[in-house]
Amino acid sequence: MTIKQVVMDSSLEVCQEIDEILFRLSLKPETVADPRMVYDRINQAEDPISEAKSLLYITRNKGAVVRPCPGTSHYTCCDYTILHTGTFCTMDCAYCILQAYFHPPILQYFAGLDQIKQSLTHLFSQNRIFRIGTGEYTDSLIWERFTPGPRFLVNLFAKQSNCLLELKTKTVNVESLLNLDHNRKTVLAWSVNTPAIIGSEEKGATRLETRLKAAKRCEAKGYPLAFHFDPLVLYDGCEADYAGVVHDIFSHVRPESIVWISLGSFRFMPALKSIIEKRFPSSTICYGEFILGLDNKMRYFKPLRIQLYQKLVTLIQEYAPNVRVYFCMEDQEVWEKTLGFFPKEKGELGHLLDRSAVSYCRLNPDLL
């Protein structure tokens, strides 16, 4: 969706960062003293979620800039660290949990690169490995088109050796990053899905082929890559389609360029279902065989998840036996029945991924 309005927190001082955003969007900002004016405007719209996607609110992050991934109870988390640079997204994926997560959802850009630098400098000085991403509450690279944020981060991470930055996206907005001296500290990661799901459920996102071509360009510039099969959606013929996606990935990039591949099946807060039904009446994505999971999110009936995971893992390992494959939010049974082991100890999965990070991104191995 196109950004049609820019609203700016009146306490922000115009600086080079904000100037660049306004220049690139070619929009005149409206200033507000109170964010509730933005909330009200969005809430009063007939479809607040769509409204929120076309209104950019530039403000300063008034909470934690860096925070641990909240994970979920009963399922194994990878101990990721979230860099909170913005919220929501301009693409309109039917399954997007952010539709139900924020009340109301707001497309926010947190201006203040100095603030981010300060928070990260603190992490850079610690004696441990951090895997840090900006793609938890937003798509990491929608911002590349009109903010200096992504390239600022790539440059910043390039100068240290204990933190990996993962920029996770469904876009192909990599142009401004290609010629940066990234020092392999930034992983460019793509969420991937089958062409059928991209076509029916990922409105505004790029085609799979286009994403993989962008990945290939980044690989050529020495960037480490990652792929996230998330959300995996079950439908008739999905196994063959996902096999096709695996094949397509390895037709474009070399296994040695891939730091990790994650798998996660579609799961959602129950509140999302009515939003999908209302906003995407032709979508059937929420009519799979879902049960209420232990974390009170809807998940596919476990044997169905395991069946698809087994097929995908086997196939990925045929193409890339050494690539780290992991699950996002799955339990012991799933891990053991698909990957043959379970990172049972607290922090064990995180440690496995840290090892990949050290190996692929040349982080300090002494910190493992």
């Binding site: 009519y287 065989e289 049960i291 209420l292 009936f301 476990k302 044997p303 339990d331 049974e333």
Partner: protein
């Protein structure tokens, strides 16, 4: 309304019993005790009628008027007369007369808001709900009752006789005519609680959306027809069978696993007084077992049974799922 309207004796033949515009309660029931009471003690509380151009239209006290008529002892009846320009007040009184005597049934509630909607919108109704309905109703709820009132007459009959709950009826209003007709037909042939009706609605509509088939196609499936046409005197059992059929269609793998595990459990626990507790939806891997005992010997006995079960092939099958 601050003044009381006069009570006058009017001719029974002047009362338009065929005009039921203000009638909230449709169930007539047995009038014999009311008739006997009027015969013995007279009419304690006069009915209210509206002085319309065409005659006196009953506002409240339909059963009292019927009872007096059935006595055939008099040609006149004392009634409180509402003036010709007070149709809205009549509507409010018709609802309040019932609502302050007892809680309105879902069908009465629907009929009441439909009647009042001729004179006021949901917001106005919500504002006056305490004085009219004897309870606070919000605007959204009133709007949903109005939507229910627009359902086909068959749905109102089901609502009236308790074969359709208010929540399922409200849910029905969100669907197209074909879906509503199919569901009404199903509910007219079974008995099910509101919760089960909601399950049936959800499963049926979601199977149709998922498989891109029409509700009529699903309704015509042999399996569903076999259940609906089953000759049973227990419509509740039929309701459960319809629900299970649709649940199997909606969650084929989950239901198949449930069925398989149930069979295995049956064999495993045959002749034993142990209970095995399965993880909900087979998501967790935690199983439970429990038994009762009153003496040490009973405990030892149960423990032996428990140990012997460890080698049973069905236990392995249950755990492997």
């Amino acid at each position: 309304m601050t003044s009381f309207n006069p009570v006058r004796s009017i001719s029974l033949t002047d009362i338009r019993l065929d005009d039921t515009r203000f009638q909230i309660t449709v169930k007539e029931g047995n009038l014999s005790s009311l008739t006997l009471s009027i015969k013995t003690m007279g009419l304690i509380c006069p009915p209210t009628v509206w002085a319309a151009d065409t005659g006196f239209v009953p506002v409240s006290g339909f059963r009292r008027i019927q009872a007096v008529l059935s006595l055939s002892e008099t040609e006149k009846i004392d009634c409180r007369i509402m003036p010709a320009d007070a149709e809205m007040a009549c509507a409010m009184q018709a609802v309040a007369d019932n609502a302050f005597a007892r809680e309105l049934s879902p069908a009465e509630l629907v009929r009441a808001v439909k009647l009042l909607n001729r004179f006021m919108d949901p917001a106005q109704m919500a504002g006056q709900s305490l004085s009219i309905f004897n309870r606070q109703l919000n605007q959204g709820f009133i709007a949903s009752l109005l939507a229910v009132s627009a359902l086909p007459p068959e749905a109102m009959i089901l609502l009236e006789n308790g074969s359709l709950g208010l929540k399922p009826a409200r849910r029905l209003t969100g669907y197209d005519k074909e879906t509503i007709d199919v569901l009404i037909t199903i509910f007219s042939r079974i008995k099910a609680s509101s919760g089960k009706q909601l399950d049936i609605i959800t499963c049926l509509t979601e199977v149709c959306k998922k498989e891109h088939i029409s509700p009529g196609t699903l309704f015509d499936e042999n399996g569903l027809q076999a259940v609906l046409k089953k000759d049973t005197k227990d419509p509740g059992q039929k309701g459960d069978q319809v629900r299970h059929y649709l649940s199997r269609r909606r969650f084929p793998n989950l239901e198949l696993t449930r069925q398989t595990i149930k069979s295995r459990l049956g064999r495993l626990l045959s002749g034993k007084s142990l209970r095995i507790h399965l993880p909900e939806n087979f998501e967790s891997t935690v199983y439970g077992v429990s038994f009762d005992f009153t003496t040490l010997d009973e405990f030892k006995n149960q423990a032996q049974v428990l140990t012997s079960m460890a080698d049973h092939p069905d236990l392995k099958g249950i755990l492997e799922r």
